[in-house]
């Protein structure tokens, strides 16, 4: 046994196993000695989870995915006691007794019991059908109630959220996600009245209404009534009006969970909460309190960042340090998808002499306000509604000089370059974990972090809500450049070169197998980054079937089985429908295949049909039926041509000037199967009205009276960008030659997973340079590019037809080597809107509405 060090905190007991307790334990195990013992008592019966991300439960995140890092609790010094509420603290004997009767002795006790969600003090506030919004169990109960009640009533439900703060809006979004028509009832004059001013609240109200959520302000609930069955039926408001409701969620605020502390006669604040000093100690020096239960300066604050700060202070104090808690940072950003709201610093301009600068665009639904010191030099706070892009860069500047004309920060997005890596060292970049710009620089400079992901792991900046991560990346990159380091272009640990360099190396060396390539240019046996990249490069140069020879071992499962893997390990099936055209006979075949195999069927955003839920061993049978009916692989899986989207064009449309569908079909058949650094999409519109949204594509073609206009480098997806005009008035052959060269040039020179838009943005010489390469052959490679495309067109074969003809390849589709036709027994589905979807983890556990395989009949 090692000797007890003087700084050992001994036996530490933590009451409450929430977010702040988690941070406390994480920090304590990282810093504390070998002989301490930490016991965490929680009443929720779960491992601590991400309450801030709770609402993502409705977008499919499972309780498991919400769980916070487990490793601190796997430390041998730590014991988690879940599902056993602490009831009594005996301060004299220094023990905590739990509901099960267990007694835990402590040298230091930490209260992290958080808050509970309040219900309003009106009749009927506890009727069946009324809920609060705080824990996973609350959401489980709400979801189950909605499903049951909808079945009982046989109609869509009406929901009311009482309380129009941040949480109320999240809850309303969640109800909407459950298909409950929903209105927020706010007693004050505007939404989020604690964080934003009235003007901002009104803009926000309009944005929320546009999203299909009703908003009523100055609506105070006075009574809640049941129907005959005893479930909630409606609410009465103070103005005497009445709102019907099948389900009610209260988000009227939280109250500190301080019962156990009061029982132990710890000093508590008149409005609730255990009073702490700046060392986070309560009136008993052996007991600290952290997180939402702790009252500092007369207030408890319902945000996680101050709780984390308190956790760090408490740990430091236990280990003999002298850290102090300085007060609350109340910056917030609303996570409700589609609506941007942020408020930070002195948002309400309460500082004497504060000035505001306001920008509003009521049509676009934007309101932005900066609060400045009386000399207009120091940023004190602000509110952003409708466009919160500047939040990440403005928040760290609070308390510092703005450095530019304040108005510039408020203009529409691309008006001004947001401040980048030049923040002062003391500016707090990540408020969730209070990480300063200086700390990030230090992690890069002194601790060897080589990219933002490593900085995140090492400092926790960006690890909680993620809103600061772009900023973290910028500062990291700037620091690396300042240190004279080029940001490495190594693809992975096996190849110290970029995709482009590797492409040239392979081209020149004429090596044609992965083993030979890695032996010559890399080391080890590769990984999930370099193997598919080499496969893609070889495919362009050799053009063999994706499952030939060693190449099959390089492919991602999607390319390997020529289908897209879904979340449960089943696959999707997408037959090609060039230009979005399909015959009635084709539709009937698709319909009968989907019905026969019980596949969930959906139209895609790429103008074709996707069938989901096919099992590995079913793929060949399904494809045999499709291939027999004349369909071929749609390559929805590969980094290759996806679709050529088309409008109906001159064949039918009264505005069309050229045959858009005909051209789309021709292009799709030409480029199908073309493997590239990332996927390729095209669009063809029959006139400038642009119904095919061609300018959002890698190559967009728009018909004009004078011929085809070709636009390149467009992108939808994560960073949308309009394609730029490359050439005007082309004839059919001229158009095709230009696209051939554009694609081949891109394939040769782009980086791994770099789509044409970012590739084009970095291209030397810009659009003029590209024009010269394509039309004037400035690099002298036009002939090579043409030849490479000709080879592609010549070698094309349908991967699925070829696979079905080869018994060796069909072996890939056996589900189990010792049971080739047995379905994966862990797959489970539930019915939804007349089709199947994978069961969630909870549904599998309950075993309730389950269907074993997708082929069973689905009840409507």
């Amino acid at each position: 046994m090692p000797p007890v060090t003087p700084l050992s905190p001994g036996r530490v007991v933590v009451v409450g196993a929430g977010m702040v307790a988690h941070r406390f334990v994480e920090s304590l195990v990282a810093r504390g000695g070998a002989d301490m013992r930490v016991t965490v008592i929680g009443d929720e019966g779960r491992h601590p989870y991400d309450r801030v991300g709770l609402t993502s439960f409705f977008s499919g995140r499972t309780p498991d995915e919400l769980t916070l890092a487990r490793d601190p609790f796997e430390d041998p010094r730590v014991t988690l006691v879940p599902g056993d509420p602490a009831e009594v603290i005996d301060r004299e004997r220094r023990t905590v007794r739990t509901a099960s009767g267990a007694k835990h002795a402590y040298d230091a006790l930490v209260l992290a019991t958080g808050s509970f969600a309040a219900r309003p003090d009106v009749d009927g506030a506890d009727l069946p059908g009324t809920f609060v919004y705080r824990t996973i169990d609350d959401l489980d109960a709400l979801t189950a109630f909605v499903a049951r009640r909808r079945a009982e009533l046989g109609r869509p439900l009406v929901g009311r959220v009482v309380g129009g703060g941040l949480l109320g809006l999240e809850a309303a979004g969640a109800l909407q996600g459950l298909d409950v028509e929903c209105t927020v009832l706010q007693s004050g004059t505007h939404l989020m009245s604690a964080q934003v001013d009235r003007a901002a609240g009104e803009v926000l109200g309009r944005l929320i209404t546009q999203r299909g959520i009703g908003v009523r302000t100055e609506a105070r609930t006075t009574r809640i009534d049941p129907d005959r069955s005893g479930c909630v039926a409606g609410l009465e408001l103070r103005d005497g009006s009445y709102e019907s409701a099948d389900v009610v969620v209260f988000t009227v605020g939280v109250r500190p969970n301080d019962t156990i502390a009061r029982g132990a006669q710890l000093e508590s604040a008149p409005r609730g909460g255990v009073i702490i000093d700046e060392a986070c100690r309560t009136s008993d020096p052996a007991i600290s309190a952290i997180g939402e239960v702790a009252s500092f300066g007369g207030r408890c604050v319902g945000l996680v960042a101050p709780g984390y700060a308190m956790a760090e202070v408490a740990v430091d104090r236990l280990l003999g340090g002298d850290a102090t808690f300085l007060g609350f940072d109340e910056s917030t950003k609303l996570k409700l998808s589609g609506v941007d709201v942020a408020s930070f610093g002195d948002a309400m301009a309460e500082t004497p002499g504060a000035l505001d600068v306001v920008y509003t665009d009521p049509v676009a639904g934007v309101y932005k306000k900066l609060v400045l010191s009386d000399d207009a030099k120091t940023l004190l706070g602000g509110i952003l509604v409708g466009d919160a892009a500047a939040y990440g860069s403005l928040r760290p500047l609070v308390g510092g000089a703005l450095g530019a004309d304040p108005a510039a920060y408020l203009m529409p997005a691309d008006g001004v370059e947001a401040p980048t890596g030049d923040l002062p060292d003391e500016a707090v970049v990540c408020s969730c974990s209070s990480v300063t710009a200086g700390r990030i620089r230090e992690a890069v400079r002194d601790e060897g972090c080589a990219d933002a992901t490593e900085v995140k792991a090492c400092t926790k900046a960006g690890a909680t809500c993620g809103s600061c991560f772009t900023m973290v990346k910028k500062i990291t990159a700037k620091q690396l450049t300042d240190m004279g380091q080029t940001v490495s272009n190594a693809m992975c640990e096996h190849f110290a070169m970029s995709r482009r360099q590797l492409f040239d190396a392979v081209l020149v060396s004429e090596l044609r197998t992965f083993s030979a390539i890695i032996e010559r240019f890399g080391h080890g046996r590769g990984c999930d980054v370099c193997k598919p990249t080499v496969a893609s490069i070889l495919s362009g140069l050799v053009g063999e079937h994706v499952l030939d020879g060693e190449t099959q071992t390089l492919q991602d499962t999607n390319d390997h089985v020529m289908a897209n893997m879904q979340k449960d390990g089943s696959y999707s099936v997408v037959p090609r429908m060039p230009g979005g055209e399909v015959t009635p006979e084709g539709l009937i075949v698709i319909g009968s295949v989907a019905r026969k195999y019980g596949l969930y069927t959906k139209l895609t955003g790429g103008q074709r049909i996707d069938m989901f839920g096919a099992r590995l061993e079913q793929l060949p049978d399904i494809w045999r039926e499709l291939v027999d009916a004349g369909f071929e692989s749609g390559q929805a899986y590969g980094k290759s041509l996806r679709t050529v989207k088309s409008c109906v064009g001159s064949a039918w449309c009264r505005y069309g000037v050229l045959d858009a569908v005909g051209m789309a079909v021709r292009l799709e058949l030409r480029y199908r199967g073309l493997r590239s650094p990332h996927k390729l999409k095209l669009g063809v519109s029959g006139c400038a009205r642009e119904c095919a949204e061609a300018r959002g594509k890698d190559a967009g073609i728009i018909a004009t009276e004078k011929g085809w206009n070709l636009y390149v480098g467009g992108n939808g997806g994560f960073t949308p960008r309009h394609a730029e005009l490359l050439a005007e008035g082309l004839d059919d052959d001229g158009l095709i030659r230009a696209i051939d060269r554009f694609f081949m040039y891109y394939i040769r020179t782009a980086d791994r997973l770099q789509r044409t838009a970012p590739w084009f943005a970095e291209l030397e010489g810009g659009i003029d340079g590209l024009r010269e390469v394509i039309f004037d052959d400035s690099l002298g490679i036009a002939h090579d590019l043409d030849r490479a495309m000709a080879r592609h067109v010549e070698n094309y074969e349908d991967e699925w037809a070829a696979t079905l003809a080869d018994p060796e390849k069909l072996k890939r589709f056996e589900s189990f080597v010792n049971a080739p036709d047995t379905a994966d027994p862990s797959l489970a589905y539930v019915a939804e809107r007349g089709q199947v979807r994978p069961a969630s983890a909870d549904e599998k556990r309950d075993g309730a509405v389950m269907i074993a395989g997708t082929t069973l009949e689905v009840r409507r």
Partner: protein, 123 residues
């Protein structure tokens, strides 16, 4: 827990049923195992269950290697779902993709006269 747990060697397939550096799944009762034949001829068996993705898919991931901090090179499997990767010899996570560590079970395997055997506990 009571009763004794005994292990026996169970035949799964022929070595030739496995492709080099491309996994295959095998079913043992309700348990799914992922089998891998590596370039150097060894066969490895780990659980087919991806604890991050909650699906039985590891046999369909990409086989590779990873250099550990001590300079040793270990064989790995990366999940096809979200690219977490494990050491095929120990089941330890070598790439968490920013998540917590969730190791996977590994099973002893042997190749005997061209047959692949796994050491399996009788219930």
């Amino acid at each position: 827990m009571s009763g004794t747990v005994t292990s026996t060697w169970v035949r799964l397939c022929a070595l030739d049923d496995l492709f080099v550096e491309r996994g295959r799944a095998a079913l043992l009762g309700a348990t799914q195992v992922a089998l891998f034949r590596l370039a150097d001829g060894t066969v490895r068996a780990v659980s087919n269950y991806d604890p991050y993705g909650d699906a039985n898919v590891l046999s369909r991931g990409i086989v590779g290697t990873k250099m550990l901090a001590d300079g040793s090179e270990v064989p790995t499997i990366a999940s096809p779902l979200h690219k977490q990767a494990w050491d095929l010899r120990t089941g330890a996570v070598v790439e968490t993709q920013g998540k917590d560590e969730r190791p996977i079970p590994v099973y002893p395997v042997a190749v005997d006269e061209g047959q692949v055997l796994i050491k399996w506990k009788d219930a």
